[in-house]
Structures are given as structure tokens and as C-alpha cells.
Symmetry: C2
Subunit: 662 residues, 2 copies
């Protein structure tokens, strides 16, 4: 059970983040807002570096990927086509009293006494009694005393009815019937069950009080409670953690934040804050394809904010309501097209990176390729393979349109230990093979063709043996039919689906298809948190007087470190040192983020930069000025991680540093 | 009247943006969403470059500015403190029929015939007549024929009343009274005016139809219209441009997009999408100040999305509903503190850039400094001073807390020509001197101290002559009192304000104050549009056959150009040329965004890159391979803007290009 230790570590990280300006709680001076986090000066630089590295490696340094920057608010039809309006939901249960919701799978088990009410009826108002009493011709005075007692009213009604119908053979039935009519006409009632877990030591009265206010909220005036039996429960997940009230049934709760765009708050003006950046890429696929001179296989990359109304944001910035994504949608030919053109489809034969993309790769090769590309990216910014984990989604976990998804995990301090005592990690990124689902959905919902024409395929198809043509056509037809059937909408008859699938298969022979897609989708904030956790190191140093001090060193990879180099004159009160240090600082800052510091002892300044994660420290001392002539115009470069120092000429400094921080 | 020409130019720019992938309409395949625009591959790079240049020049290359990256959704209290919940509104008028709103100042004048109704009454239902007729004891048959005619009913009532009260001296009054009682009891009516402008050629019937459906919507069943007079109007701005219905009164309409965060859609969970990035900086001022080791004067910079529910988004990306801002809040000492420390306050004496910041600068110097710094920034990315304009806000235009605001304008193709025949331009950026209003507001609303302690001030204050202390204290006191009075809330009595202002003034003597702020606030999307408009150039070239062609050249400054260099083998079918060209491409792409193109004639490839705005083209020809030995390993570099070519050794190419694109 490593939990307590892990929490201590998370607390230390959170505390450092606030102390050094990496991450602040959003709106902190107003008590914060749950699930929202701001990046302070160091955090903002760290995040910029990560996004810039992703963008460079995913688009600028690739021939086959271009960028996109789409809006957060898009036409709501996009989220209908994507399925988000209907199915992007958590299963939730609501407390019927406070209306507060909890995620069904996140209710902590509770034990104790439960008081269960079966319903409530309102006591009738005096004027109603009068009315009724006149009707049943009995004395008003004897009845009104009983006004607050249902039992008494029932008896009264019964006795009157007995008199009216005395001797009738169906007397009991008549009594029951007329009593029922009385209550139906003159009282409100609710037969909704209300159960509440009694906190230890609380009297049953408190449960009654809650029940009364609950039934009042249902419109039962002056309610008389029915039921009220107490029973024991053990480890039940049926009760709200705060109110103790028995939860309603599990229902889907949409996670998209909703707003209205335009001057009227009407149904037609509903818009959503995107819950992912991916859909914008699909919606703009044709525009990008037509303007970028790219041919399938190629990708479109985007970095941007997304929003999810998470019910229980947690684990610091790991699960927040506003977050940033870095997503690539990489469009590939369907395997049938690859086989038509190249005669075969290459499939993975060994684990690891499959090397440079080849034209005969099928979707499985591309999927493996992107998983491994992404792992290389993480390794390149300091997350070694040992800190990562993988989760290959099981058929049950996969979305219905997905063919495979591999989650790349990082072993966070809060990641759980499994039965084997191992930490598997939590998701940094998912790499999904999404078939042609997304573009197909947008084609059907928008009525705009999303397919591409592939000259190579058309040419190759003509040269195929008829047998091969038939086989490939059949496979493509089956796949399309399966998609069309699974996503059938009202009015999509089997005949219509059959016809469309046949048309799609005919298109293939003409060089037309809807591209398939591999989606490496990463969360920026999670990655930042992983980098913070990975960098966090405590060292204990003991000074000459034997006094030991625990210091924090943030061992960021130089590529992501917010500040690349600290520049320090050895002493503040020596103008020559200060002037030279400022000269070096000016020389470096054009190339990278540099920080000049002259305040305090040099050790103190090193320590401050260690805590900020600055990988290199440059000190200008008297040797720099030529005290030892052979060291003139050289500086001491100190390495953050081991404190090692080396002497480097100022003229070589920019190149030396750039080679290490780029 | 240059309008038609200008619109043609805007159309060309919009068309190029779509054709070349600079800007697409958001959600285009679904018919778009008004006021939202996506950036395609070239646009995304252009925007990234601009944001990166701003960030570098505003934070990384300055000692006195640090960055922040805050969330779009923040605690709603922030927008109460900032005044946005109450006053961030456009004056709007609503069509009472369609509920569609228009901005009061943007209704186009219309002329024509107006049909004016004064109200409507419902024809009573038959059972009501029966009821009434029974009551007034007259024959039911004679009355029901008149059921559809108010006049007839009135007469009928009158005659009955006459009979009942025949000979009474107050007969007329009684008739009127009983008639009134009849209508009040048995009919619904509406006395709301409804006027509608008749489109030319439309019959009055159409106006009646609209009026009937309008009064029905007010709950008048089966309405009989009252009034119906037709009159002429000239150039009236009182009618809705679409429905023609007379608009309701001008009312404020809040421009913030609203959503709910958390599991319940209740008042307490309302949140807003930020309408500006500035407030996050104020809300995090203390956190940043405490963690960044900065002292006033210093600034906090942020780039990020903001949202405004503009009623009429227009001028392409100029006024959109989702946009991006680059904002700096630069915090300075109040003038009283500057004077206490330095003995005087420097004020502007000449136009232009005042040079390096000095410790004795007052707010006016800082304001001038930031206006000029920002102009330098624009000049540095290709917007010459001649393309810019300035608008110094008049006292009437200034926000009540602002001391001065200078808007930096750009002469867009849609910018209006003024009476003097000059184009003034539209706002790119506002540089505002906002006093200590923002931090003061957050201090009062959050209850958290937002002031700073200034050691220099405390030390200096002790050495001031008592007369000087008194004078400065008095000035500071007056300013604080003015702020506290203007923003007084319920319960802020004059005594309380007096006391607080005195305390604030006492604080100054102890080295405490709330910093003032200068805010250069720029719109990214507007700047991108300015860069596109500024770069857009058409050239007509005539080939040997005398055929002339109009070509577009996007003359972006190399710093912002999406692609920095195109690399072309002279011929595609010469493997040596292709191999060498790919080698050069690999050499360059590590340093800058490069584009390799081997398809089509070299002139065609140049033209494509001219249209994308690529400033340099590198061609690998046979001389590169050594056909002329003295030119071995040199390439032709072509300049986009004038087509000039020069020969440069490959080894010098990266440095040569970097010096021009950085």
C-alpha cells in the first residue's frame, strides 16, 4: 500500500508548482473554480516548449502532415455527426433532494442505518374538510378535530360510508373506493420512495426532517410521512456521499459544455464548447486536402483547448474541465486500396518501430508506427520507456468503430498499484485506429462528399485480375455495409444500405474511397504533469557545519525546461563582473530563454535555478576577466543534475548550449 | 466613393484565403457558423509566427515581463469585479414578433408605408356570451349573431343597460361602466402597439396577418385588430431590417457567452467564457508577483482565446465571436510614489519613442513608451507607419477609470473614408492607461489585498520634507477617494469611503500602494487580417506570346511568412538534381519551415510559392552539380517580391536565410 507516500509526493509537487509559479489554481483569490488551473510564468514556458516541440516534430519536420487551427465553438451539427450529442456522457446518479450528481462508478461504499419512507400525503386544508363534510352530511365539528390525522379521517369516511350503504354486500369495497376518491380529490400525495442513510449518532428525527422537505419539494403540502422503517446496509454505493440520500437510477449525463451563440437563447442557437479538437480536423478535411497539395496518406495536426464538464475533476491537472490537446488525424488508404495498388498489405511482424513509412503499409502498420513515433517523442523530452506503460484496449473497451487503440501511460504518483504490485500508469495519449468512421459520419450528416480520388488506385485496379477485383470489392463492400448498418438512422432501410454499400464498392473500382484514420491524441496538461512529476527530485545536502538541508531539483530535459540557462556574476558589487555577465546574458537571450540573477550567494542562486529546472548555469568570475590569463573570456558552466562544472569560452557558449537545449 | 473597389479587394482576399488554405469558414460543410473562422495550414503557421514573435519580444527578450496562461473559464466573480456582468453590453433593440435583436447603432434607415395597430381584443367565446346574456336577461339568439363584432356587442350591452336603468340621470356613465366590465370579464385584449413597414408592392393584408399572429403570441385568441392606420416614414431606423416590424426600446444585451460548469444547471454554476484575457492577469497578479521575483514596474503577458457574442460579426475575421488576444498588463508605481522616490515625475516632452525606461517615468511616459513599442513591433513585421493610424480616445470615449487610451489602427480595405477623404483605419490594438482600477476592484470583490510593498518608497518617504509628504499624501488620497466614490457599492457610506481613502493614503507613507497599469491589448485575428491585406499584391505578367496573366503575390515580411523557403530541383526527372535538392531541403528544414516542390515548370512552382507568400526560393540546377565548376554547390536564391536572383553557396545558405527570416 504505497498510497500515503504517493499523496505526500503529489502534495509536494502541487506545493512547488504554486511556490515557483508553474501552476496556480484558477481564480484563486475568489476561492478557485473546481477543475480549472492556470499556468504561471514557469508553467507557461514549459507548456509552450512542449507544444512547440510537438508541432515541430509532427508538422514542420514532416512532409506528410500539415497544421490547422480551428475554433472551439463549431456548428452543433458536428457533434451530432460525431455522436457526442447522443453518447458523450458519463453514467450518473442524482440525489433526489439536492439534485447533486455523482458518477455511478465513483460512489464510495457506505454503511449504517437507513430510514426508508414509501411516500407522503398532504393533510387536507380545513376548507376542504368543510366542503367534504357538507357533501357527506355529517357534523363539521367532530371532523375538524381530526383534521391532522389521516387515520381519523379514514375512519370518519368509513363510518359515514357504512351508514350510507349499510347492509350493502360490497361494503368494504365501497368504503375503500370512497375513501380513495376523497383522498384523490382533496389531497396531494407522492408515492416516491425516499431513503436516507443516518449519519452515526444522528436521531431518526433528522431523517424525517429531510424527508419532509423532500416531499414538500414534490408539491406535497404539510406532508404526513408514510413508511419510515429503519434497516442496516453494508458497503452500499446507493447513497449520495454528501446528503446520504438514496440515489436515483443511473442515467447518462452529457459532458459537453453548452452555450448559446447569437442574440436569442433558443434551441437553434445552442452551441457546444468542443470536447476534443479532432472533429474540427474531420470537418475541414476536404478544405485542407484541396488546398495543401497533400495526397493520402497524410495527416492534419492541431493543438488547442477543449472542455469537458467532468463531474469529479481530480489528481491536480490530470483530469480538469478545461484542458489542451495535441491531436493528429493521419489519413490512410483503406487496406483494399493498398492491396489493389501494391499487391499486398504489409502487417506488423515484430514489436518496435517499423521504420520509414512504406506505400504497402496497412492500417496495422500505421498504427504501430504512430505508437512508436509517439513513444520516441516522449523519450526525446525525458520520459524514458521505464516511466511509461501501455494499455491495449480490449474488444469490450473499444469504441464500436475503432479497430484498435493503444493507450500510452505514464506512471504518475497517484497511479494505482495492481494486484501484481505493479504500477501500470494513467493515460497520457491514446493512439486509435478509427477506420473510416469519422469522415463517413460527416459525409452522411453534412451531405458533402468526404472521399478522395486516388489516381494510383484507379490505374492499378484496371490491371487487376477479375478474381482479385471481386475479392477486394467484396471486402470493401462488407466493411461499408457493416458501417452503414451500425450507424443506420431513421429511414435507412436495409435496401437503402445495401444500395449505398454497393455504390461505395463501385467507387473503389473508380479510385474513390473515404480515407481511414489513425489518431494519436495527447493531452498537454497531463504531459506537463508527467514532466513535473518526472523532474521532481529531492536531494539532501549537508553544509560544512553539518547542517543538512533538503533541496528540490527539477530535472527537466533541457528541451522542455522553461529557462535554459541562468547567468550569474560571481559577485554583485564588482562592476566588471556585472558588466561582463550582462554581456553574456545579452549574447544568449537571443537564442534561448535566459535568466540573469545577481542577488544572493552564488550557491543560493544555483539552488533557485535548480528548483526552476534550469539545466545550465553560467558564472562569470575573475578568471573570465583574465585573472588567470589562460581563462580570459571563459565561463564556468554548471550542470544542474550533478553539479558538475566545466570551463567554456564565451564565444563557443551559444553553440554549446543550443546543441543541448534544441 | 471607393467602396465598390474596396469590397472587390476584400473579396479577392477572402477568396485567396480559402483557395490557399489561410482561412476557412468554421464548420463550412454544415453551412458555417456565423462569426467563427478556422485557420488552414498556411494560416495556422502565419498565426503561430505572429504569436511567437509577440511572445518573444514581449516576454522572453524583456527582463521586466513574465508570461501567464490562464483558463478561458474562470470564477464568475471575476466578471462581477471587472464590471463585465453589469456593463459589458451592446445597446440592442428587439423585434417584438421574431425576438430577433439588432444593434441600436446598426439599423439601416428604411422608407415606406407603415401600418400601425394600437392593439387587439379577442372575440368572446360563445359560452361566455351565453353566460353574460343570461346575466343581463336578454335573448340569446339576437346576441350570438353579433358575436364576431365588437361594435354590435357594445350596442347590445348599451341597449340592455338602457332598459335596465331607463331614466337614470347617469345613463351614459352606467352604459360605459357596464360595457367595460363586460369586456374586462369576458375578453382578453392587448393594448401593445404593433407597427410594420410594408415592403413595396405588398398589400395591407400581409401586415394584418403579421399583426394577428403577433397578438396571438401575446395570448389574444382569435384577435380583432384595433387601429390599422397607414402612414409614410422616411429613413427611419425604427424597423427591423428583416421582419419590418417596429423595434422595441433600446436595451443593453450582455456580450459574454454563458455556460454552466458542474453537474447542475443552476444560478450558482453559471460561468462565462472570458471576453478578454486581461482579467486573468489581474486575478493572478499576486501569485505572479510573489513567485516571479519581479518588482514594480513589471508586466504580465498572455496570449489566448476570448469570446464575445457579437450581434453582427462582420468584415471577415475582423469582428468575430471567437478570437485571440495578445495582452500585456504592465504594472507601474502611482505617480505619487515615483515623485516621492525620485523627486520628480518625467512626462512626455516630444512625440516618438522615449527610449529606455527610466525610474522617474510617470504613467504618461509609460503610456507613450508602450504605444511606440507596439508600433515598432508592427513595423518589424511589415506594417509600415504609413499603413497605420492612431486614434486618441476623447474624454467622452474613455472608460470612466481610464486616464488615456490610444488606439493603433490599420487601414483595412473596408476602413471608411472620412469627410476629408482620408482613411483613418480600424483598431488593431488599444493601449490604455487604466489607473489602479482593475487591481482595486479585485481587492474589494475578493477581499484579498492586491497592493505591493515598495521598500524604496518607504525609505524615500522618511526623507521627504513634511510639506512634500503632505502634498503627495493629499494627491493620493484624492485619487483613492475618487475611485472609491465612483465605484461605491451598497453600504459604502461617505464616512466609510473617507476612512478607506485615508487608510490608503496612510499606506503610501509606509511604502504600500496598488499598482497602476498600462495595457497594450492586441487582437491576433485582426493583425493576421492586416498582414494578409498588406501582403496582397497583384502583378500582371505578359509572356513571350503576348498573353498576360494576373498573378497574386503575398508579400509577407519574412518574419511572419508561413513558409520561409521553397526548395526546387530545376527538373523532376534528373535524379542528381532531385537528390541534391532533397539534401538542401533537409539542411534547411531544421532551421525554418521549408517546402519542397518538384512538380510542374519552375515558373509555376515560383508562382505557387509567391501566392503562399514564401519570401525565398532556392533552385538546384546543373551548375549546383558543377556544370560550371566555379558554381559547384551553389544555388540560385530567388526573391519573391522582385523576382531578383542571386547565387549563394549551399554552406552559407542557412545563415543567409536565418538572418532574413528571424
Amino acid at each position: 500500500m504505497a498510497e500515503p507516500k504517493e499523496n505526500v509526493l503529489m502534495e509536494k509537487i502541487v506545493s512547488l508548482c504554486k511556490r515557483r509559479g508553474f501552476v496556480f489554481q484558477s481564480s484563486e483569490i475568489y476561492g478557485g473554480i473546481n477543475g480549472f488551473w492556470d499556468y504561471g510564468p514557469l508553467g507557461a514556458e514549459l507548456k509552450r516548449n512542449v507544444k512547440e516541440l510537438w508541432w515541430n516534430s509532427m508538422t514542420r519536420l514532416r512532409d506528410d502532415v500539415v497544421g490547422l487551427e480551428a475554433t472551439i465553438i463549431m456548428a452543433p451539427q458536428i457533434w451530432k455527426a460525431s455522436g457526442h450529442v447522443e453518447t458523450f456522457a458519463d453514467m450518473m446518479r442524482e440525489c433526489p433532494m439536492t439534485r447533486k450528481r455523482v458518477r455511478t462508478d465513483q460512489v464510495e461504499p457506505q454503511s449504517g442505518s437507513v430510514v426508508k419512507f414509501t411516500g407522503a400525503v398532504s393533510n387536507p386544508k380545513p376548507e376542504v374538510h368543510d366542503d367534504y363534510l357538507t357533501t357527506i352530511e355529517t357534523s363539521a365539528s367532530s371532523f375538524s378535530n381530526a383534521a391532522n390525522n389521516r387515520e381519523a379521517i379514514n375512519n370518519c369516511v368509513k363510518s359515514v360510508v357504512s351508514v350510507k350503504h349499510s347492509g350493502a354486500s360490497d361494503l368494504d369495497e365501497r368504503v375503500e373506493e370512497e375513501t380513495g376518491i376523497f383522498w384523490a380529490n382533496h389531497c396531494t400525495h407522492a408515492s416516491t420512495e425516499f431513503s436516507i442513510l443516518l449519519p452515526a449518532g444522528k436521531p431518526v428525527e433528522s431523517a424525517k426532517k429531510s424527508a419532509i422537505s423532500f416531499y414538500q419539494s414534490l408539491g406535497v403540502e404539510n406532508p404526513v410521512l408514510l413508511g419510515g422503517v429503519t434497516e442496516k446496509v453494508e458497503d452500499s454505493t446507493d447513497f449520495h456521499p454528501e446528503s446520504g440520500v438514496k440515489l436515483g437510477p443511473s442515467r447518462p449525463f452529457n459532458l459537453m459544455l453548452q452555450t448559446y451563440v447569437g442574440p436569442i437563447q433558443s434551441e437553434e442557437n445552442i452551441a457546444y464548447l468542443r470536447p476534443e479538437t479532432a472533429q474540427a480536423i474531420f470537418a475541414q478535411f476536404k478544405n485542407v486536402h484541396e488546398t495543401s497539395r497533400q495526397k493520402v496518406p497524410f495527416g492534419i495536426a492541431q493543438v488547442g483547448k477543449a472542455f469537458r464538464n467532468e463531474v469529479t475533476p481530480r489528481n491536480f491537472t490530470f483530469r480538469s474541465r478545461e484542458f489542451e490537446q495535441m491531436e493528429l488525424e493521419f489519413f490512410i488508404k483503406p487496406d483494399e486500396a493498398v492491396e489493389a495498388i501494391h499487391g499486398n498489405v504489409a502487417v506488423p511482424t515484430a514489436p518496435g518501430h517499423p521504420g520509414e513509412p512504406q506505400p504497402n503499409w496497412g492500417w496495422q502498420m500505421w498504427h504501430q508506427y504512430w505508437v512508436e513515433e509517439r513513444v520516441r517523442f516522449y523519450e526525446g523530452i525525458g520520459l524514458s520507456r521505464a516511466t511509461l506503460g501501455f494499455h491495449i484496449q480490449t474488444p469490450e473497451e473499444l469504441a464500436h468503430y475503432a479497430r484498435a487503440t493503444t493507450d500510452i501511460l505514464f506512471k504518475f504518483p497517484f497511479s494505482k498499484v495492481d494486484e501484481q504490485g505493479e504500477v501500470k500508469g494513467d493515460e497520457l495519449e491514446g493512439v486509435a485506429a478509427r477506420s473510416d468512421f469519422d469522415l463517413s459520419q460527416h459525409e452522411r450528416h453534412s451531405g458533402k462528399a468526404m472521399g478522395v480520388f486516388d489516381e494510383d488506385l484507379r490505374t492499378a485496379w484496371g490491371k487487376l485480375a477479375p478474381e482479385k477485383q471481386k475479392e477486394l470489392r467484396q471486402r470493401y463492400y462488407e466493411a461499408r455495409k457493416k458501417y452503414l448498418t451500425k450507424t443506420a438512422r431513421e429511414g435507412d432501410s436495409p435496401e437503402k444500405i445495401e444500395k449505398e454499400a454497393q455504390e461505395d464498392a463501385d467507387g473503389l473500382a473508380k479510385g474513390q474511397y473515404i480515407p481511414h484514420v489513425i489518431e494519436p491524441s495527447a493531452g498537454v496538461d497531463r504531459l506537463i504533469l508527467a514532466l513535473l512529476a518526472n523532474a521532481f527530485t529531492e536531494t539532501t545536502s549537508t553544509d560544512e557545519k553539518g547542517k543538512s538541508e533538503v533541496r528540490t531539483v527539477m530535472k527537466f530535459h533541457p528541451r522542455v525546461a522553461p529557462v535554459k540557462v541562468g547567468v550569474f556574476p560571481l559577485l554583485k558589487n564588482k562592476p566588471e563582473l556585472v558588466a561582463k555577465a550582462k554581456e553574456v546574458f545579452q549574447l544568449l537571450r537571443g537564442h534561448m530563454l535566459a535568466f540573469y540573477d545577481e542577488t544572493g550567494a552564488i550557491g543560493r542562486r544555483y539552488a533557485r535555478q535548480d528548483e526552476a529546472g534550469t539545466p545550465f548555469g553560467v558564472t562569470i568570475d575573475f578568471d573570465t576577466l583574465g585573472e588567470k590569463p589562460e581563462l580570459l573570456n571563459t565561463v564556468t558552466v554548471r550542470h544542474r543534475d550533478d553539479g558538475a562544472q566545466e570551463r567554456i569560452p564565451i564565444s563557443e557558449l551559444p553553440g554549446w548550449l543550443l546543441a543541448r537545449v534544441k
